[in-house]
Symmetry: C2
Subunit: 202 residues, 2 copies
DNA sequence: TTCCTGACTGATTGGTGAGTCAATCAGGGC
DNA sequence: GCCCTGATTGACTCACCAATCAGTCAGGAA
């Protein structure tokens, strides 16, 4: 890609990684593009060499990661394990993502999936796609008789995804502890609670 | 209060109501203070006569409404009906608030409770107070043997509140229908799902 | 009638920060 | 050696907007 830096770092990547830290620390609106450039150790203008605008930096970060989530959901559905394992795999993917890169997940949740006027609206199709994927999985569980049918799949999805996002929010706000143990317990408890409420009673 | 307008409207209130609409429509950061003044049909400077800053307008809106939520939670706990009714009352209060004034609830959720860098951090004590209230209610249900004890009250609260907030978010994004029937069903289904997952199995 | 208070006005200011652009520099092909 | 391409730089521009402030106006008190 770069002739000048054959073995050197990809500056575009460096800028994106710096942007994650800056957006997480100061918020998208509060930070300045020069903050990103400084954090990346790069000249101001280079940000505009690689990205058309400040917005495009955030769009890129979101799309990169959300694509992985959509793939994870599709993969789970393809392997077709028992419903509990499916939901566990999805919850784990999201929680693990946070554990591995809390700053990035913070940015995605705070600045995109919950930003109803700006980026959230813009990325609504991709966000909805994730909901639809989860809803399809739940619908199948209902058809197979594992889940009760008096709660719509779309609604069950909102409960499931909402619980996970609230969990991440609590970590983001540092309102609950975040040791590796807490992460492990949390996944298990979300699945336990939601599946518990959706399963057909014996 | 006003000597000049003895029988006239309270301009402070007019400004707050206009701010709700403007914040909901354009977002706190994107809108200008002049938008609020125009919407209120009031001179620009009057906003600064009643409020020290743009921030203070949002702070006021949030605190006004959140106080009502905290009172509702306390009241439910005081009356001490069965646990299902308690959670139903809380879910109903929030969903009804949205139904009655969607713009205000949109602003509170999008701009405050989910704004981890700005207003959310600032109002964390009040937000946490609501969580604590709900957690206390769930803890009592556990002590009385109605709820299973292997899921912590704090965690159960996150699931419950997270599901509700995700529901509102879906309405805010216009991702799900919002007829009076949908509101009624929604409350019922949140309580059903979460209680279902938390109750002790027969 | 005069003065005082406080609601109300809107032009102005001052700071800020996104995006531009002209210039520099390094490497590769000829 | 020379040109071309594209990465890289950072000073500058320009629009925007929060906050200020000097003033107007209305009603009540004295």
């Amino acid at each position: 890609m770069s002739a000048r830096n054959a073995g050197a770092v990809d500056k575009r990547r460096v800028i994106l990684d710096a942007a994650i830290r800056v957006f997480a620390r100061e918020g998208f609106y509060s930070c300045r593009v020069s903050d990103i450039a400084n954090e990346a150790g790069v000249a101001y203008g280079l940000v505009y060499h690689y990205f058309r605008s400040k917005d495009e930096v955030l769009d890129t970060l979101f799309t990169e990661r959300w694509t992985l989530l959509l793939e994870a959901i599709a993969e789970v559905d393809r392997r077709d394990p028992p419903i509990r394992e499916k939901l566990d795999a999805i919850a784990s993917f999201i929680v693990d993502s946070y554990q591995n890169d809390p700053d990035l997940m913070k940015v995605i949740i705070v600045e995109v999936t919950r930003a109803a006027n700006t980026f959230g609206r813009a990325h609504l199709p991709e966000i909805s796609q994730a909901y639809d994927g989860i809803a399809a999985i739940i619908r199948k569980a209902q058809e197979e008789g594992a889940f009760r049918t008096d709660i719509s799949p779309e609604f069950a999805t909102l409960c499931f995804y909402g619980a996970i996002e609230q969990l991440l929010t609590a970590w983001i706000f540092e309102a609950i502890p975040a040791t590796p143990d807490d992460f492990a317990q949390a996944k298990q408890m979300v699945v336990e609670t939601v599946c518990g409420g959706l399963e057909v009673r014996a």
